[in-house]
């Protein structure tokens, strides 16, 4: 009995001790919760006002520091794009109660024009949240002072010192350099896709065209951050820490801006394009598309009247003709055709044809420009005097597939992958192309007759001036082909290290040296005794070239007389050339829209460019625009 009671007593003792401790724990829990409630009362009742202020006004915020955008210079160090600092008046819409009244009030202190309001409205529609937007740019010192005196009236409005992009040479090389503009929603998507969103916090501008667009992530730099305490008015009270931004990388171009300027001037008020390439590297020396535009207009949101002017002009100044204009090459195609004939064994240099002035095929007469024909014509003469009949026959003998294969290797009908976005492909005609291009089966068939006019660079042929320049440079360089490019090297802003662009050739075409020499000799003949002899009269260097004319308007057999045709329907003038002929330093393609014969308007531009680039002077005895042999 005693033995049985002892453990029971022990268990009972343990149970009552347990219950005491549970009760104790309960009291402790209660006390702890009372402590919590007291803390909540302290925070939420006694200090509520203080924390409300802190929540609304006294926030620590990360303010991005936008890096300086990289500078663009030409091959000689001339600045083409840089930044300058100016004051802007900016409104943060999310901090302003009545936007209308605020703008109205601001207008009484500082001049705000209707166009400024209009631009602000547009920016407001496109803007991200919490962004401050400029209502006025480029404030004068006096305006800054006037606003500062009245700023207490305008919460959410502030003067900011910002860096602006400037293109000191204005329209010169605008198509190559491009421009920056404010970031819109589509740009934002692209930034997010590229996982650059963090780096673009605070950045308002982005490259939209040209090199500014292509090298955006090189030029932009690394955004820095400043941690600041901000008060209710959005003013920074004090800075807590700062991570400096890293400036964007600088671009040094292959472009020679003086040559570019000279070439642009040579066009006068004519529309056209010129691409000059250094054959040994593919570096672009000049990339002209006229008329040009002033990229400075775009930098802070282009005004609508300026935009309308640019957009509605019949001359299409925003079109980059060098990359996006596709033109039939006309007779400038002939040297390439001749080289194809030699390489495929369809012709020898000495082989002659008899030219009666026309070529009959399938009941259709293909006419030569020269009435009565050129008589007996070998390859040299066919290029020097631009004999069409020779190439009608050659095209017929070679067949379209063989032509397309050879021209494709030279880069015709393909993007050159130049470092500017949005380049056109052009058209390299072939039966396959026709199948892709047309939908209806009867249109998809290739007719043998269509091959004939391909031989003289007409028909479906359509190439961009840069393709033509690349092909010319490849002949000048004996088949060693480079990708045309505008940036010579990128300079890292931190290390100063220079990254060269494209020192390796794209491909080497296995041409027989003697075949290339035959073509070059004939092209020299063009500039000494042929269609471009007058344009190159008296030149102290030996150059090689070929004139061309591209039909805009089919005369349906009637005779072409420039004077009787409206200007917009006149033929396009073309010219390809390189110099010095033995060791080419420059190769180019020139196109003058509605310029008539190539020898008449395009070749003299090439002469001026060569004279300037090789001799450093403007030519005195440049050919007048009349009295030249038709090509």
């Amino acid at each position: 009995m005693l033995a049985g009671q002892l453990p029971l007593n022990a268990t009972d003792r343990e149970l009552s001790r347990f219950r005491f401790r549970i009760a104790l724990a309960g009291v402790a829990v209660f006390a702890a919760f009372v402590v919590l409630i007291v803390r909540f009362v302290h925070l939420q009742v006694l200090q509520h006002a203080y924390y409300t202020t802190r929540a609304e006004d006294n926030r620590i915020s990360l303010v991005p520091i936008v890096p300086n955008r990289g500078v663009i210079v030409d091959r000689n160090g001339t600045v083409l794009a840089h930044n300058y600092s100016a004051f802007t008046l900016e409104i943060t819409p999310s901090k302003v109660a009545d936007l209308e009244a605020t703008i109205e009030g601001l207008g009484k202190v500082i001049e705000v024009l209707p166009k400024d309001r209009k631009r602000f409205r547009r920016l407001l529609e496109e803007s991200k949240n919490f962004e401050s937007l400029p209502i006025r740019t480029r404030l004068s010192e006096e305006e800054v002072a006037r606003f500062a005196a009245n700023r207490y009236l305008f919460p959410g409005v502030e003067v900011k010192a910002r860096l602006f992009r400037q293109y000191p040479l204005g329209p010169i090389a605008a198509h190559a350099i491009g421009y920056i503009n404010r970031i819109n929603k589509r740009d934002l998507e692209i930034i997010e896709e590229n996982e650059q969103a963090a780096n673009y916090k605070g950045t308002d501008h982005i490259g939209k065209t040209g090199l500014e667009q292509k090298y955006e992530y090189q030029l932009h730099g690394q955004t820095g951050y400043e941690q600041v305490e901000i008060d209710a008015g959005g003013r920074a009270i004090r800075s807590l820490s700062r991570t400096a931004p890293v400036q964007g990388n600088n671009l040094t171009l292959t472009l020679d801006i003086k040559l570019q300027e000279m070439a642009e001037k040579a066009f006068g008020d004519r529309r056209g394009a010129l691409v000059a390439i250094e054959p040994a590297s593919g570096g672009i020396l000049a990339l002209v598309s006229t008329p040009s535009f002033d990229p400075n207009l775009f930098v802070d949101g282009i005004r609508s009247d300026d935009w309308d002017l640019l957009n509605n002009s019949p001359d299409k100044p925003m079109l980059n003709r060098a990359l996006n204009g596709a033109y039939p090459p006309g007779s400038t195609f002939k040297p390439f055709m001749a080289l194809a004939a030699l390489e495929t064994g369809k012709r020898t240099p000495g082989q002659t044809i008899s030219d009666p002035g026309f070529f009959n095929f399938g009941g259709h007469q293909f006419r030569d420009d020269k009435k009565g024909g050129h008589g007996s014509v070998d390859m040299y003469k066919s290029i020097v005097h631009s004999c069409d009949t020779y190439y009608y026959m050659l095209a017929n003998d070679m067949g379209i597939d063989s032509i397309a294969r050879f021209m494709g290797q030279l880069g015709f009908g393909q993007r050159t992958e130049v470092d500017i976005e949005g380049e056109s492909e052009g058209v390299l005609p072939s039966p396959e192309w026709k199948k892709r291009r047309f939908k209806r089966p009867e249109q998809q068939k290739w007719f043998a007759g269509e091959t004939i006019s391909i031989g003289i660079g007409q028909g479906y042929n359509a190439y961009t001036p840069i393709q033509l320049a690349q092909a010319t440079a490849t002949i000048a360089n004996n088949g060693v082909m480079f990708r045309p490019h505008l940036v010579k090297y990128i300079t890292d802003s931190r290390s100063g290290e220079q990254t060269m662009i494209e020192p390796e050739p794209l491909r080497i075409l296995p041409w027989k040296r003697q075949n290339v020499e035959t073509i070059k000799k004939a092209m020299i003949g063009v500039n000494t005794a042929g269609t471009a002899a007058r344009a190159f009269a008296g030149a102290s260097y030996v150059s090689a070239g070929k004139t061309g004319t591209a039909q805009v308007f089919s005369l349906k057999g009637a005779e072409y007389r420039a004077s009787s045709v409206k200007k917009e329907l006149r033929d396009h003038a073309l010219f390809i050339a390189f110099a010095p002929a033995d060791q080419p330093k420059i190769a180019l393609a020139v196109l003058v829209e509605n310029g008539g014969f190539g020898a008449q308007s395009a070749a003299p531009i090439a002469r001026m460019v060569f004279d300037y680039y090789l001799l450093g002077k403007l030519p005195k005895g440049a050919a007048r625009e009349d009295d030249v042999e038709e090509d």
């Binding site: 347990f18 509520h48 409300t52």
Partner: protein, 368 residues
């Protein structure tokens, strides 16, 4: 009236559930779900995922509630041994994430063994004391402390201070409720106070920083103090009635870090104010009172100390979490029970509630 078959199924389903516990847990979960939605709807909505977690939690709770306490006791030793072995594996082969080695990779998935010990340690210790019921000597308490110290040290070493505290507390509650003499308790406290300077030197840098910033959050406003500053601003600016559901500016301007997990109370508090806080604290208090009642009325030593430990552990979660979010305790990784987003903690806590239900309902069956 239900047809007899359905009636029997219904009875089978609910016979081991405890009404007050179920009602209180479900109320807190519903509050948690609404808060998780507010904290995440404008970024990546976690509402559905959390609802799934809760469903899994309920299943775990029901399943555990079906097992009689005797059977639960049987899990003590194997779970504890398995848990400690896994912890040793973590020590040697664990995956390092953010400087802490807490996870074990199984190839297809990763597990966090320390979570198991939140249940395994009290089970093991309660079983141990139950075995020696009525004959408890000082050496039993000493050995129990050793059993607790091994997993505690392994977890603290990972380092995972939050889990170490929870495991340590769960084990300590068992030892305390089993009757650890007061002399020892006061002795331990005195020893701890004396050892504090040494412990200080052994703490990790980030742990020391947390304690220092607790004393003066303003000393490091963008680093370790940032969490505390922003969450106290959220709570304080909530005021008496709160800014309203989905209206918290601190929450939606993303000033509150970890706002759907450990700091969810800041979101709740900002939007529901003192009134909401008081109701939530009351719900937790009632839940804990119910748990303590179950403990007090339990029929065996194992059931008593286990129920007491589970209940007080729950209290520890709540107090440590609310204390850290409101700035009176250091920041340690402890979620708010049934509120914070995340499946693991939810299941562990539901198992705890299940154990309480099992103890309560099987006791009544014994009496009948």
């Amino acid at each position: 009236m239900l047809p007899p078959l359905l009636h029997r199924i219904w009875v089978r389903l609910v016979e081991h559930l405890d009404g007050p516990l179920l009602l209180l847990t479900a109320s807190i979960m519903a509050t948690g779900l609404a808060t998780v939605y507010s904290a995440t709807y404008d970024a990546s909505n976690r509402l559905l995922a959390q609802a799934v977690n809760m469903a899994v939690g309920f299943c775990a709770m029901w399943l555990v509630a079906q097992l009689p306490p005797q059977k639960l006791m049987g899990f003590g030793v194997p779970l504890y041994v398995l848990g400690v072995i896994l912890l040793i594996c973590v020590f040697f082969f664990g995956v390092k994430v953010n400087g802490a080695r807490r996870w074990l990779s199984l190839g297809f998935t990763r597990i966090q063994p320390s979570e198991v010990l939140k249940i395994a340690v009290p089970l093991m210790l309660a079983w141990y004391f139950h075995k020696h019921e009525a004959m408890l000597r000082f050496r039993h308490y000493f050995f129990a402390c050793l059993l607790l110290l091994v997993p505690f040290a392994l977890i603290a070493k990972q380092p995972d201070l939050g889990t170490a505290i929870l495991v340590g507390a769960a084990g300590f509650y068992v030892i305390f409720l089993a009757g650890l003499p007061w002399q020892v308790i006061f002795g331990l406290f005195a020893a701890a106070a004396a050892a504090a300077p040494f412990v200080w030197t052994m703490l990790h840098d980030y742990q020391r920083k947390r304690i220092l910033t607790l004393i003066d959050p303003a000393s490091d406003p963008l680093g370790a103090g940032y969490h505390i500053i922003q969450s106290t601003i959220a709570i304080g600016s909530g005021g008496t009635f709160g800014k309203g559901w989905l209206e918290g500016t601190q929450t939606h301007l993303e000033f509150i870090p970890e706002r759907h997990t450990d700091f969810i109370f800041a979101v709740f508090s900002e939007e529901r104010g003192l009134l909401g806080n008081s109701i939530l604290v009351l719900l937790y208090f009632l839940l804990i009172v119910r748990g303590l009642m179950i403990a007090a009325n339990a029929s065996t030593l194992f059931a008593r100390v286990m129920a007491g430990s589970v209940t007080l552990s729950l209290f520890t979660y709540v107090f440590v979490n609310m204390g850290m979010v409101s700035g009176i305790l250091p920041v340690v990784g402890v979620p708010l029970p049934f509120m914070s987003y995340g499946g693991t903690a939810l299941v562990t806590l539901s198992v705890g509630i299940g154990i309480l239900m099992s103890i309560q309902t099987h006791r009544m069956l014994v009496r009948k």
